[in-house]
């Protein structure tokens, strides 16, 4: 009997493995036919309450005029991260037609999986993207020069500060000195020394690959005048700009001006820290806190209108499981039209990746002056580079950063050189 069961299990396992190995060869519709196909589509959007509100609104607005091309919207299914959910859905072949929460860092991997539609292959694809986003669009193109994502919205990272804490630390809350590294350090020391807050700033010290976007990368973008982490197939940060940013953060951690333990709450909201690096999405959650905002500091100080930062964008991807790509492309253009971008700005406070944002929506920024600085900053942002092994590149960087900066091991220049060499190798692999 035991032997019979083993035979049965082996037969089933072999059959199922053969079935799996043999998959993938089926007939496929021609790309051009798919691109012309019209019909109902499904979209996923973020579970952020304001984005859900916008998502429902845009779907309703479209469906009112397109009864034969009905759009069904739903929140992205829950998972550890959206990228993991999307990656699994690509493999399973059950992605929706469009996802309004596609992170740039995951695009090279999704593209490699064959999960994304090349938007440049639509007759007006590249033209539409470039006319909407302007010159900044080029950094969202893949290595082959085509667009596999539509740059949708950004959350330019800036330096929020708590005015009450600044006041308590004896610093002018309306104009705190935060432009240069020396000023920033002096302000940080004053906050901690006066016990106005336990820490001056508290970026997450944990080891997830994306954490360096909110400590190193925003400041590096400013210090380097808008350089990406990797340009022309080589890491850029093992230079004076990268070293000075890393030295600044190492000083911050060494002097315990920032916490090195993961914190489960919102350190800024809880009054544990006087400053935080965040995008405009955070404004709503800081409702009752009396906050101000400044551009990220640079070593010598820079005019706000010249300062770059990290974009923290979320984009739209069209997924290869889409059967009605014609409708998906039309809906994508509809949902990123001037009218819908205005609705997105109004509903979420996040910045559509559209050239000359302040000129496009003057009334909104008159009514909401707090957001105007972010809109102006949105013209000078860098995003994560679109390179091979993107997530591994950032994880490699984060691991080196944790050792050299957060825990102060070894010399910074050496660590940056070593990690730059590793990253060069990673981006050269397909």
């Amino acid at each position: 009997m035991k032997r019979s069961i083993i035979i049965l299990i082996a037969a089933l396992a072999t059959a199922s493995m053969l079935a799996a190995c043999g998959g993938g060869g089926g007939s496929s519709t021609q790309a051009s036919d798919k691109q012309a196909a019209k019909g109902p589509i499904t979209i996923w959007y973020s579970n952020n309450p304001n984005e859900v509100k916008w998502g429902k609104q845009v779907v309703a607005a479209w469906n009112a005029n397109h009864p034969d091309e009905k759009v069904t919207g739903q929140e992205i299914p829950a998972g550890r991260t959206s990228e993991e959910v999307i990656g699994a859905a690509i493999t399973a072949g059950n992605t929706p037609d469009l996802i309004y929460n596609t992170a740039s860092v995951a695009v090279p991997q999704f593209q490699k999986q064959g999960g994304l539609v090349d938007l440049s292959t639509f007759p007006d694809g590249a033209k539409y993207i470039e006319s909407r986003t302007g010159g900044a669009a080029s950094q969202y193109a893949s290595v082959d020069g085509d667009y596999y994502q539509l740059p949708w919205k950004s959350n330019p990272v800036m330096l929020f500060y708590n005015k009450a804490i600044m006041r308590k630390a004896g610093i002018d809350p309306e104009n705190p000195p935060l432009a240069t590294y020396d000023e920033f350090l002096a302000t940080a020391r004053a906050i901690v020394k006066s016990k106005a807050a336990k820490y001056a700033i508290y970026p997450s010290p944990s080891s997830e690959f994306y954490q360096s976007w909110f400590d190193f990368y925003a400041l590096y973008a400013a210090e380097s005048g808008g350089k990406l982490l990797v340009e022309n197939g080589a890491a850029t940060f093992a230079d004076t700009a990268g070293t000075s940013v890393a030295e600044l953060w190492r000083t911050i951690y060494a002097e315990k001006l920032a916490g090195n333990e993961p914190y489960t709450g919102d350190a800024f909201l809880d009054g544990l820290t006087g400053m935080v690096l965040a995008g405009p999405w955070a404004i709503e959650s800081y409702g009752k806190t009396d906050w101000g905002v400044a551009p990220v500091p640079t070593s010598a100080g820079m005019k706000p209108e010249e300062t770059y930062t990290f974009a923290d964008s979320k984009n739209v991807g069209m997924y290869s499981s889409s059967k009605n790509q014609g409708t998906a492309w039309e809906f994508l253009k509809f949902s990123t039209s001037p009218e819908q971008d205005g609705a997105l700005l109004e509903t979420t406070g996040q910045m559509p990746l559209r050239a000359d944002l302040t000129k496009a929506y003057p009334e909104y920024f008159t009514k909401h002056p707090a957001y105007k600085m972010f809109a102006e900053q949105a013209n000078r942002t860098v995003d994560v580079p679109n390179v091979s092994n993107s997530v591994e590149v950032w994880q490699t960087f984060r691991d080196a950063w944790t050792a050299a900066v957060i825990f102060g091991e070894g010399d910074i220049a050496g660590a940056l050189n070593d990690v730059a060499a590793s990253i060069d190798k990673l981006v050269s692999q397909q």
């Binding site: 019979s4 049965l8 998959g23 690509i90 493999t91 080891s207 090195n260 993961p262 489960t264």
Partner: protein, 321 residues
């Protein structure tokens, strides 16, 4: 086909058995040999066999296959070559210092966690077996952490073990700096302690069930022979709960080797500075986050081999007379 015909073809795989006399002196036919004495049993066991094949045999087989190929997950219909690469993935894994370190970390975890689990669960089960008042309450108390979501209990431990937490307040000047969960030395022992506490209730239940099956007569006989309580415990109780001891050690090793949630949440992604990474954590990083399932599979296969060796050794040790 008769047994005689089979025999006439001479010996070979499957044929020697055909000559085996069935109970009652009858000889096995080939059909009987393939389907067993009760073919209906095969039918009844088929659903479970199917389940095991789908959720265990197939994934393991596919994992092993992937570890020898340059494979990655693609969308259905995407035809990408996934060539055989021999031991290349294993070479990449073994030459990666982070992977080697993760195996050291999990060994460190097991060295702390397994003995603590064994000793505390046996002691507490013995105590609970003898307690008269509040028995139900105490049993539930030990079991509650096991059934509580890790995310909730981990948050509590983070507050307890951070630099300003209650543990450091009690320790005062003896508190480590950096604090427990961000100390390269203390991160892994802290995780081991947390996991011991979290899972203790389950292992106590296993021992408690075993202790309640120890015949009272044996203890009475030991007492009659003049054995002290410790001697009776050593000579009667411990041998009687040996199967449970083996089970507890095996389960503690297997669950410990698969450590993931704690380094992911308690130490902020295998921190500090990679001091609490584990093979399963790296497997997640490489396979899910970084899109390198072939490398992740190689880590997984090595982990399975390692766990099999350790559990075999521990079984020999705990079952030894």
């Amino acid at each position: 086909m008769s047994a005689k015909t089979s025999q006439s073809r001479g010996p070979g795989p499957g044929r020697t058995a055909a000559a085996t006399p069935a109970p009652g002196g009858r000889r096995w036919s080939r059909l009987e040999f393939a389907l067993g004495r009760n073919p209906a049993g095969l039918l009844l066991s088929a659903p479970y066999a199917l389940f095991v094949a789908a959720v265990f045999v197939y994934p393991i087989g596919l994992g092993v296959w992937m570890s020898f190929h340059d494979s990655f997950f693609t969308a259905p219909g995407v035809d990408v070559p996934q060539p055989f690469v021999g031991l290349e993935n294993y070479a990449a894994v073994l030459s990666n210092p982070a992977v080697r370190a993760s195996f050291v970390h999990v060994a460190e975890f097991l060295v702390i966690n397994v003995p603590l689990t064994l000793v505390f669960s046996l002691l507490l089960a013995t105590a609970l077996n003898n307690v008269i008042h509040w028995r139900g309450f105490l049993r539930v108390s030990y079991y509650v952490p096991y059934v509580t979501a890790s995310v909730a209990t981990i948050t509590v431990w983070m507050f307890m073990f951070n630099s300003g937490g209650i543990v450091n307040q009690i320790l005062g000047p003896l508190a480590p700096d950096p604090a427990w969960l961000v100390s390269k030395i203390w991160a892994m022992p802290s995780i081991a302690l947390y996991v011991t506490w979290k899972q203790l209730g389950f292992f106590i239940l296993l021992f408690l069930a075993a202790l309640q099956n120890v015949p009272k007569e044996l203890h009475e006989a030991a007492a009659t022979d003049g054995a002290s309580r410790w001697q009776a415990y050593k000579a009667v109780t411990l041998p009687a709960v040996r199967p449970a001891t083996t089970l507890v050690v095996l389960l503690a090793i297997i669950t410990g080797a698969n450590l993931f949630t704690e380094p992911y949440l308690l130490t902020g992604g295998g921190g500090p500075n990679g001091a609490s990474t584990t093979p399963v954590f790296l497997l997640y990083q490489q396979g899910i986050q970084q899109g390198k399932p072939a490398i992740a599979s190689a880590i997984g296969v090595l982990l399975v081999i390692g766990v099999l060796i350790i559990t075999y050794g521990s079984r020999k040790l705990t079952e030894r007379d």
